[in-house]
C-alpha cells in the first residue's frame, strides 16, 4: 500500500522537480553600457530616458545593471548601479526608485573619457548576465559604436556572448560618417559580425528612442 502511494507520488515529484526550478528561466537580465567618451557624454540625458523605460518595464525578479564605457571598461568599478528586483512587487518598486536616484546622480556627474572600450564593457556585461542565470539576457549599448583604445589595452581576441541579445541604441553619426556614410554602415556591419561570431542570439540597432519596446521583442 505504501509502495503504491509512493509510486503514485513519483510523477508529481518529477513534475515539481522539472517545473519548480525554472523560475530563473522566465527572468530577464539587462546590462546597459553608457558611452561617456568625448562628446557622446552629452547624450547621457537620453540614456536616462532608456533606463527609466527599463525600470518601468522590468518585472519583479528581473535584474538590471548600468555601467559606463570608459578608456578601460572591463571592471566592476564601472558598474554605476545594479539590482535584482525583489519578487514582491511593492519591494521591487522601492528598489526601482532607489535605482533611479542612483542613475540620476550619475547623469549629473558624468564626465567624458579619452578612449572608448566597448569590448571591455561587453565582456563585463556578459559576465554579469551569466551570473544572474536569467532566461533572457540583453546587453544594451548606448554608444556611437566607435571603439577607440589606447596602445596598451588589448581587446583583439574572440569574445563569448553566447545566448545574449545585443542591442545598440542611439548610434549617432559622426562627422566623418556624414562625409562618407559607408564608414557608418561599415562600422555597424563590423560590430554585427563580431557580436554574431561571439555567439549572440541577436544583433539589433535602435536609433529611435520612441521605439524602445523593440528591446524586449525578439525579431
Amino acid at each position: 500500500m505504501r509502495t503504491r502511494f509512493l509510486l503514485a507520488l513519483l510523477p508529481l515529484v518529477a513534475f515539481l522537480a522539472s517545473g519548480c526550478g525554472d523560475s530563473r528561466n522566465h527572468a530577464q537580465a539587462v546590462y546597459m553600457l553608457i558611452d561617456t567618451s568625448g562628446t557622446y557624454a552629452q547624450e547621457a540625458g537620453k540614456a536616462q530616458v532608456i533606463i527609466n523605460y527599463l525600470l518601468g518595464t522590468l518585472n519583479p525578479g528581473d535584474s538590471l545593471a548600468v555601467a559606463r564605457v570608459k578608456s578601460r571598461s572591463f571592471s566592476e568599478k564601472d558598474i554605476v548601479a545594479k539590482v535584482t528586483f525583489d519578487s514582491r512587487p511593492s519591494q521591487a518598486n522601492v528598489q526601482k526608485r532607489a535605482f533611479r536616484d542612483k542613475v540620476d546622480a550619475f547623469v549629473k556627474s558624468v564626465s567624458g573619457s579619452a578612449y572608448t572600450d566597448i569590448t571591455g564593457g561587453l565582456l563585463q556585461g556578459a559576465e554579469f548576465l551569466n551570473e544572474t542565470g536569467a532566461g533572457t539576457k540583453i546587453v544594451i549599448i548606448f554608444s556611437d559604436m566607435q571603439e577607440e583604445l589606447d596602445k596598451v589595452t588589448v581587446r583583439d581576441f574572440p569574445i563569448s556572448l553566447k545566448n545574449i541579445r545585443v542591442i545598440a541604441v542611439n548610434v549617432v553619426k559622426l562627422k566623418t560618417d556624414n562625409i562618407d556614410p559607408r564608414r557608418y554602415i561599415g562600422r555597424l556591419e563590423a560590430w554585427q559580425k563580431r557580436v554574431e561570431s561571439a555567439g549572440a542570439t541577436e544583433w539589433r540597432v535602435i536609433n529611435d528612442i520612441e521605439r524602445l519596446d523593440a528591446i524586449f521583442s525578439k525579431s
Binding site: 523560475s23 522566465h26 518601468g56 526601482k96 533611479r100
Partner: protein, 478 residues
C-alpha cells in the same frame, strides 16, 4: 522500355493490350475468385465489427436505461417522501386543532338550534272566556237598560282585555325578532369557520394531488415503461443544459475572482516564481484559494443538505453535521475576508506602480484624482472580493445536477457514437463489396472480345449439337 512504337504511346499500349487479352481471358476465373475473396476478406470483418458494435450499443442502452430508471425511481421516491412530509406537516399544523374547531362548530349549531326553537314558541292562546262573550253576544237585546249596561260593561272589559292580548302578542313577536337578529354573529362565525376548514382542506387536496402525480410517475418508472424513460432522458438533457449554462456563468465569476487576487498573491508568494511553463506560483496560489472556496461552499451545501454529493456527510450525526456546517461557514467567511483584503492590496499595488511609472516618465504628472472617485473602485473591489466566494459556494447545486445528468447525457452520446461507428463500418463493408462486383464486371468488359468469341463458339457448338440431335431423331423415325 515497354514502348513497342516509341513515337506512339497509344498504339504501343493498344498492342500490349491485345497481347495481354488472351492471358487475361485465361486468368478470368482465378481473378474473379481473387476479387470475391478480397471482397469477403474486407467486408466480412467490417460487418462483424458493425454487428458487435450494434450489440454493444444495445447493451449500453439497456444499462443506461437501468441506471436512468434507478436514479429516477430514487429521485421520485425522495420527492414523494418530501410531499408526504409536507402533507404531514400540514395535517399536524392545520388539522391538529380540528377537534376544537368541531366542538366550536357543534356549540354554535346547538345554540342556533335552541334559538330557533325559541322563535317557534307561539303566543298564549286567547282566554277561555271568549266563548262566553260569544254566547253573550248572541243574547237578544230587549231594550232593557240593565241588559244594555251589562253588555256595555262586557264590551268595555273585552276591549281592555283585547288591547292587552294584542300588546302581549306584539311583545312576544318582538322578542322572537330579537332572537332571530341575534343569529347573525353566529352565522358569520360559522361561515368564517367553514371558510377556514375549506381553505385547509384545499391545501391538503393540492398536496394530495401532487403526491398522486409523483406516485403516478413512480409507478411508471417501476413498470420500466418507455414513456418514463423518455421523460427522464428529456429531463436529464434539460438539467444538463441548464447546469452547463449556470456553470459557465460560475466560471466567469471565478475568472473575475482570479483576476482580483492573482496580483496581490504575488506579494505573498513572489511574482518571479514559476511552477511550470508560464504558470506563475502566485497565479496557482490564487487558483488554489478559489478552489478551496468552492470546496468550502460544496461542504456547506452538503452540510445544509441542499446537495447530496457525499453520502458520508449526509449520513453524519445531526450534531456533527451542524458542527461541520459551522466550520465550513467560518472558513468561507474567513476566505471572503482574505479576498477583500487582497482586493484592497491589489488596488494599492496598482496605485504604487502607477505612481512609479508617472515619476519615471518625463511628461508632466497628471493631477491627482478626486479622493471620493478613487475610493469607489477600491470599495467596489473589496465588496466584490467578499461577495464572490459566497456566490461561488452555490456552484455546488448546478455541479450536482451536472454530475447526475452527465451520466445520462454521456451514456446517450456514447450509444449514438457507437451506433454511428457501426453504421459507418457497415457502409464501408457494403461499398467494398459493391466495388468488388464492379471490378469483376469491369474485368469482363476489358476482355469483352474473347468473351464474345467464347459466346459465339458456344452458340455454334450448341447449334451443331441440336442439328445432330434433330438428324438423329429423323433417322430414328424413318
Amino acid at each position: 522500355m515497354w514502348m513497342i512504337w516509341p513515337d506512339n504511346v497509344a498504339l504501343s499500349a493498344l498492342i500490349w493490350f491485345v497481347i495481354a487479352m488472351p492471358f487475361l481471358y485465361a486468368a478470368r476465373k482465378p481473378v474473379h475468385q481473387l476479387l470475391r475473396s478480397l471482397s469477403h476478406a474486407f467486408s466480412g470483418p467490417l460487418r462483424l465489427g458493425s454487428h458487435w458494435l450494434l450489440a454493444t450499443a444495445k447493451e449500453m442502452q439497456q444499462r443506461n436505461k437501468a441506471v436512468l430508471l434507478a436514479h429516477g425511481q430514487e429521485e421520485t421516491g425522495q420527492r414523494v417522501e418530501r410531499e408526504f412530509e409536507r402533507v404531514a406537516a400540514l395535517v399536524t399544523r392545520d388539522l391538529q386543532g380540528y377537534p376544537a374547531l368541531q366542538r366550536k362548530l357543534l356549540d354554535e349549531i346547538t345554540r342556533i338550534e335552541e334559538d330557533y326553537k325559541k322563535t317557534g314558541e307561539v303566543p298564549p292562546p286567547p282566554p277561555e272566556w271568549v266563548a262566553a262573550v260569544d254566547a253573550m253576544a248572541k243574547v237578544k237585546s230587549s231594550g232593557s237598560e240593565m241588559v244594555q249596561n251589562v253588555l256595555e260593561e262586557i264590551n268595555r272589559s273585552v276591549n281592555t282585555i283585547h288591547d292587552k292580548a294584542i300588546a302581549d302578542y306584539r311583545r312576544a313577536y318582538e322578542s322572537r325578532h330579537k332572537i332571530l337578529a341575534g343569529f347573525m354573529p353566529f352565522w358569520r362565525s360559522l361561515d368564517r369557520t367553514m371558510q377556514q376548514v375549506d381553505k385547509k382542506l384545499t391545501g391538503l387536496e393540492t398536496s394530495a394531488a401532487q403526491v398522486d402525480a409523483q406516485m403516478q410517475k413512480y409507478e411508471q418508472i417501476a413498470k420500466k415503461s418507455d414513456n418514463a424513460e423518455q421523460t427522464l432522458t428529456h429531463s436529464a438533457f434539460t438539467q444538463f443544459v441548464i447546469a452547463l449554462l449556470v456553470m459557465a456563468v460560475a466560471v466567469g465569476g471565478a475568472f473575475i475572482n482570479f483576476k482580483l487576487i492573482a496580483l496581490p498573491m504575488s506579494e505573498m508568494v513572489g511574482a518571479g516564481d514559476y511552477i511550470a511553463g508560464a504558470l506563475r506560483t502566485s497565479e496557482v496560489a490564487a487558483l488554489v484559494i478559489i478552489f478551496v472556496e468552492a470546496s468550502m461552499g460544496l461542504f456547506l451545501m452538503e452540510a445544509l443538505r441542499i446537495t447530496h454529493l457525499f453520502p458520508r456527510i449526509a449520513n453524519l450525526h445531526e450534531h456533527m453535521r451542524r458542527r461541520m456546517m459551522w466550520i465550513a461557514l467560518i472558513l468561507l467567511v474567513t476566505l471572503a475576508g482574505i479576498e477583500a483584503a487582497l482586493a484592497l492590496m491589489r488596488d494599492m499595488l496598482i496605485a504604487d506602480k502607477q505612481a512609479l511609472v508617472q515619476s519615471l516618465a518625463s511628461a508632466q504628472q497628471a493631477a491627482p484624482a478626486d479622493p471620493l472617485l478613487a475610493r469607489i473602485p477600491t470599495a467596489g473591489q473589496m465588496l466584490l472580493g467578499f461577495i464572490l466566494p459566497f456566490a461561488l459556494a452555490f456552484v455546488a447545486v448546478p455541479l450536482e445536477s451536472l454530475i447526475h445528468s452527465s451520466r445520462t447525457v454521456g451514456g446517450a452520446a456514447l450509444v449514438a457514437i457507437v451506433r454511428t461507428l457501426a453504421l459507418t463500418l457497415r457502409l464501408i463493408g457494403n461499398v467494398a463489396r459493391q466495388l468488388c462486383r464492379v471490378l469483376v464486371t469491369l474485368y469482363d468488359v476489358i476482355i469483352v472480345l474473347p468473351l464474345l468469341v467464347e459466346r459465339w463458339v458456344n452458340a455454334l457448338r450448341s447449334g451443331a449439337a441440336e442439328t445432330g440431335l434433330e438428324a438423329g431423331r429423323r433417322a430414328a423415325k424413318s
